[in-house]
Amino acid sequence: MDIIEGSLIDRDTLYTLHELCRSSGVHAEVIVEMVDGLLEPQGRDPVEWRFPGSSLTRIRSTLRLRRDLEVNLSGAALALELIDEVRRLRERVHALENQIESGR
């Protein structure tokens, strides 16, 4: 079987609105709605918008949350923010625990 090589989507990879629609399979209106608090593109108006590569995962998670938990976009945005925060705190606790442990 052939070995397939892909391209890494980096934090530095930026998407235009059009590319993001294509890659996520989501209508532009939905993405525009998500820019209101959920996605943070660089640039001022839709033509100039550049989205970080992480936006794709965010869009997928948001749509899943909306579908499965029956929350609206703001609810999903709130959940994602809190999840991010919990993850940061967990990592911090983990790092501090390691420091305490190795300081002993």
Partner: protein, 310 residues
């Protein structure tokens, strides 16, 4: 196939009303949703809950399910009753909501059919499918694989229409090259490898390592050292992802101090570093000789708490 007790999955009684079922579902869905949950087996648990809700929230499906009787137990060997599907139930096609039904159990499919499969992706609301569908998958690799790169075989399932016009899940395998230096949570895009010519996005997760802790491209390793190694300095052999190296511990090092081995983390531009976290381990005073040496050190008059609480 095994019988599924959907009431048990949702933790409701058999006479629960639709509101109770909805409440139970919402609560469990929040608990086990793979995007939210840190519970073990969250994904499997979530699917159970979704499947149960798919049946119980729909009065028609629930009624059909109830007709199987109450004497079945979860996991019991189940065969479809011979008169099934003659009772005027028609589940194929409409009536299914956005839940991604591709992963429901054989039990579910034998009762309610599988014709709706593949509709899952479009249920999320707002999806468009003007071209091939992009597909997402996740792959777990080891830290060693992230360091050195790897080729992994992955299996994907896509709905496909067979010769009889039935929609069935078709498995296919791909050999994918994982580039060295990939970071936890990063995605790899495989052009044209999704469903019907869309792209495949592969999210890479790096499994926790026995020795190394990963932070971005940096790794850290706890290195136990003897008090005299810390005090007098020493050369010690330590593992790195690229093999063993000799690290110099400077004289006067303290427990908890971090030493950096530049460029010994995950490869990249720039490459990550490896940190050595020193951990002083004191030898046990379980022989006369050891006790004598400790007694001798006592004469140093060292007070580790001097100034610590002032």
């Amino acid at each position: 196939m095994e019988y599924k007790d959907y009431y048990k999955s949702l933790g409701v009684s058999r006479d629960a009303n639709q509101d109770e079922i909805k409440r139970a579902y919402r609560k469990l869905a929040r608990k086990y949703h793979p995007d939210v949950s840190k519970e073990e087996n969250a994904e499997a648990q979530f699917k159970e809950v979704q499947e149960a809700y798919e049946v119980l929230k729909d009065p028609e499906k629930r009624q059909a399910y109830d007709q199987l009787g109450q004497n079945w137990r979860e996991g019991q060997n189940f065969r479809q009753p011979p008169n099934w599907n003659q009772g005027g139930f028609e589940f194929r096609g409409g009536g299914f909501t956005g839940a991604d039904t591709g992963a429901f159990s054989d039990f579910f499919e034998s009762l309610f059919g599988r014709g709706f499969r593949g509709a899952g992706g479009s249920g999320g609301g707002g999806f468009q499918q003007p071209r091939g569908e992009d597909q997402f998958a996740r792959i777990e690799i080891t830290l060693e694989e992230a360091y050195g790169g790897a080729t992994r075989q992955i299996a994907l399932e896509n709905p496909a229409v067979d010769a009889q016009g039935q929609v069935a899940m078709k498995r296919r395998s791909l050999n994918v090259k994982i580039p060295a230096g990939v970071r936890d949570g990063q995605q790899i895009r495989l052009g044209g490898q999704g469903a019907v010519g869309g792209d495949l996005y592969l999210e890479v997760g790096i499994q926790p390592h026995r020795l190394f802790k990963l932070d971005g491209r940096d790794v850290s390793l706890t290195v136990p050292v003897a008090p005299w190694e810390a005090a007098l300095g020493a050369k010690v052999a330590v593992p790195t992802l690229g093999g063993e190296v000799t690290a110099t511990i400077p004289a006067g090092a303290q427990s908890g101090q971090r030493l950096r081995l530049k460029g010994r983390g995950l490869p990249g531009k720039p490459a990550g570093d490896q940190y050595l976290v020193l951990k002083t381990v004191t030898p046990p005073a379980d022989t006369d000789e050891a006790r004598r040496l400790y007694q001798q050190m006592k004469s140093l008059g060292f007070n580790p708490r001097a100034g610590a609480w002032s």
